[in-house]
Amino acid sequence: SQKIEQNSEALNIQEGKTATLTCNYTNYSPAYLQWYRQDPGRGPVFLLLIRENEKEKRKERLKVTFDTTLKQSLFHITASQPADSATYLCALDMGGSYIPTFGRGTSLIVHP
């Protein structure tokens, strides 16, 4: 069956370091992949979209890579800050419908 896998364990890093989060998927080649941020008690907030024909995309301190051979996306936050602490969700279309399916998310905790 098709799956989206994000690390269920929280990622703890020190302020100023680069945080790297992983999104793996199986059995399908998505047309795109999205990353969202979710804070407790709030809805997810869209951050970035990367398409299947793109290797990398950047936005300010954020960088996303998309490796369709490895079936993996990496999400990087450089010069991380405590305010970056949140849960980060990846989403991709998993059946050709172009409708996004969400992973379970990974919690990031940035320590001052």
């Binding site: 809805g43 419908s97 996004p100 998310g105």
Partner: protein
């Protein structure tokens, strides 16, 4: 600053009661989604509308759930009768297509 609004923000009800959740999508967005989020299952798609037409409700329990868009400014999700296993946070999201979604603040539903 355009936002998706949802009402009510919190709802506590007893098993067997009807629950109606409302969403006002961002003006001009042609896609509307209903999601359910729980600790166990994460964010699950319940229904998807494009230009007010329902295109995908495969994730929705048909016997008790229904979703409609009576007009472009209102989407509703109804549960009748509600059950304790329906307890979750329900999110509405809208978008200018599928490339990004703007989420509302969610309705936290507790069914006793």
């Amino acid at each position: 600053d355009a936002r998706v609004t949802q009402t009510p923000r919190d709802k506590v009800t007893e098993m067997g009661q009807e629950v109606t959740m409302r969403c006002q999508p961002i003006l001009g967005h042609n896609t509307v989604f209903w999601y359910r989020q729980t600790m166990m299952q994460g964010l699950e798609l319940l229904a998807y509308f494009r230009n007010r037409a329902p295109l995908d409700d495969s994730g929705m329990p048909k016997d008790r759930f229904s979703a409609e868009m009576p007009d472009a400014t209102l989407a509703t999700l109804k549960i009748q009768p509600s059950e304790p296993r329906d307890s979750a946070v329900y999110f509405c999201a809208s978008g200018p297509g599928l490339d990004e979604q703007f989420f509302g603040p969610g309705t936290r539903l507790t069914v006793l």
